[in-house]
């Protein structure tokens, strides 16, 4: 799997913004569902020129949504994979910068 196929989008939320301020900053991404920790690490290191020290992954469950009008349950979101990568204290990822 090509490193650039692994990362889908950065996740910028209250929680991830807070995590970027850790001593060893952590950054969250939505990643390809087939990607493993090693591939994610490589992808982040190549894409952002940082040294990744830890990768946590979680498969976020699909969500059932209810149609407001018909009151019928329907699946709106399929499951997706989230990765939280920790980098060295001296490293920063530009796209998250200026958000905190």
């Amino acid at each position: 799997m090509h490193p650039y196929e692994v990362l889908r989008r950065p996740l910028i939320t209250e929680k991830t913004t807070w995590q970027t301020g850790y001593e060893s900053p952590q950054y969250a991404f939505e990643v390809d569902g087939r990607a493993n920790k090693q591939q994610i690490k490589e992808a982040v290191e190549i894409a952002f020129d940082v040294k990744v020290t830890r990768v946590n992954i979680a498969v976020m469950p699909k969500k059932m949504k209810r149609n407001q009008r018909t009151r019928r349950s329907m699946i709106r979101q399929s499951e997706w994979k989230k990765a939280v990568v920790q980098v060295r204290p001296t490293d920063r990822i530009g796209i998250f910068e200026g958000v905190a």
Binding site: L11, I12, T13, E14, T16, T17, G98, V99, A100
Partner: protein, 464 residues
């Protein structure tokens, strides 16, 4: 805050406000918090989105001006106070810099009127003269109005009254115009009234019951351009012919036309009315000249918004008038008058509005310089007079509750008083006191209610 004030030639001032870094930062955070609360940012609770995310979302430039707005709320009043400037309307943020924080605000100033040497203005008033010929013309008109009309069996002669009809047809045999009245006097005025050359001569000799068809040329004074100098077929029908016998100018005529005993009384009354009318006209023309002279002498400077506001008022006035009097919307009225849009109408009335605005400012300045005022008592008296004239006792109470009505009376009275004062000055009597009896007493209604004296409304005039 550090303020620099620069006066511009356009009757505006430029505030350059240097802001402390901490103050600017605080304003940025306030704005960010506000925007964060007002808009939803996915992944963040309302009010918790970080500032830089908000800046990225709304755009740097827009955020900068939001911050400037926030700062202007507190800094602009301070700047006005510090510079002692009396603005006309709200200031506009012209430029904002972040490093170091600086804001430039352009402020329009109140119009400035310099009356210059207005005390030295002299305009000669010429007393109107009523000539004997004018009095005679009025008496002749009375004599004609009271002519004794007698039906005659003979053909019509010059000076006769003919009851009948006159219709003009064009080459296509369509009626193009006709006589509105049902009768006409056979004299030279008939040609002018109908715009037909030689009509009187063509009608002379017509008998009752006769119809004449003649071809005549339309004169150049005809309103319809297409008909001017063209030949039309004219049909004249006479139903009845009457002679007109003018009554002698004597006491009997005087007693017939009014409560006069002798012809001399009638003549004196005609002369008095003519003198009054001419004096009124002369005074109006004189006032126009005086206002023009004062306006020419004065230097008036005002900002573009001032004129814009006056134009807005004029357009609103036209809108109201068309709605109330013509019962139509402004857009329809503009189409009828040939204006493509409101911008074209504005352009058309701009010069007149500008002149009027200048005159009003000059009148306002004269009223201040000469301390011309209208007291509450005078306004009250005016309202009472109107109520008495209309025989409406409740009008006084109603009027006292209508501030716009009071303002209009104040404005009218003040204008007429300022014009009087300007006339006095222009006739070289400017050193005389304005009017000794003026006071600024409050308007008091008999039941104990009171309204304050009207102050500050600018006088208005349609002169000039």
């Amino acid at each position: 805050m550090n303020l620099q004030v620069e006066q511009l030639d356009t009757n505006e001032a430029k505030f350059t406000i240097n802001i402390e870094q901490a103050e600017y930062r605080k304003a940025q955070q306030t704005v960010a918090r506000k925007l964060s609360k007002d808009y939803r940012f996915p992944g963040f609770r309302p009010g918790h989105a970080p500032m830089n995310l908000i800046v990225r979302a709304v755009g740097e430039e827009a955020f900068k001006y939001e911050v400037a707005d926030e700062l202007a709320r507190s800094l602009y009043p301070k700047a006005l106070e510090e510079s002692k400037i009396n603005p006309y309307g709200q200031g506009k943020i012209e430029d904002v810099k972040e490093d170091p924080p600086q804001m430039v605000i352009r402020v329009e100033l109140q119009p400035v009127v310099d009356l210059r040497n207005y005390k030295g203005i002299r305009v000669v008033y010429t007393e109107p003269v009523v000539g004997e010929d004018e009095i005679q013309a009025q008496l002749d008109a009375i004599q004609t109005e009271n002519a004794i009309v007698k039906l005659v069996e003979r053909p019509a002669e010059k000076g006769d009254l003919i009851e009948g009809k006159i219709v003009a047809y064009n080459a296509e045999n369509e009626a193009v115009f006709d006589l509105e009245e049902e009768s006409f006097v056979l004299d030279e005025n008939l040609d002018k009234a109908m715009h037909l050359v030689g009509l009187m001569d063509a009608v002379i000799g017509i008998s009752a019951g006769e119809t004449r068809n003649v071809r005549l040329v339309v004169d150049d004074a005809e309103e319809d351009e297409n008909l001017r100098s063209t030949e039309v077929a004219v049909e004249v029908r006479a139903d009845r012919v009457s002679s007109r016998e003018l009554p002698p100018l004597d006491d009997t005529l005087a007693q017939t036309v009014g409560s006069f005993e002798t012809f001399a009384d009638l003549r004196a009354d005609v002369e008095k009315k003519l003198v009054d009318y001419k004096q009124k006209m002369a005074q109006r023309d004189y006032n126009d000249l005086v206002v023009s002279a004062f306006s020419e002498e004065a230097t008036v400077i005002y900002s573009p918004s001032y004129l814009g506001d006056r134009l807005d008022e004029a357009i609103e006035d036209i809108k109201q008038r068309t709605k109330n009097e013509e019962k139509m919307e402004l857009s329809d009225w503009m189409k009828l008058q040939g204006f493509a849009d409101e911008a074209a109408l504005r352009e058309n009335i701009k010069q007149g509005v500008e002149n009027q605005a200048k005159v009003n400012l000059v009148l306002g300045a004269v009223s201040k310089a000469e301390n011309v005022i209208v007291s509450g008592d005078e306004i009250m008296k005016e309202i009472s007079n109107v109520a008495q004239y209309l025989n409406d006792d409740k009008l006084v109470r109603r009027s006292m509750q209508d501030q716009s009505y009071i303002n209009s009376i104040y404005s009218r009275k003040l204008t007429s008083r300022v014009l009087e004062r300007m006339s006095t000055i222009a006739q070289g009597n400017g050193d005389a006191p304005t009017v000794a009896s003026y006071s600024s007493d409050n308007v008091v209604i008999s039941e104990g209610e009171s309204t304050s004296v009207v102050e500050g409304a600018a006088p208005e005039t349609n002169n000039g």
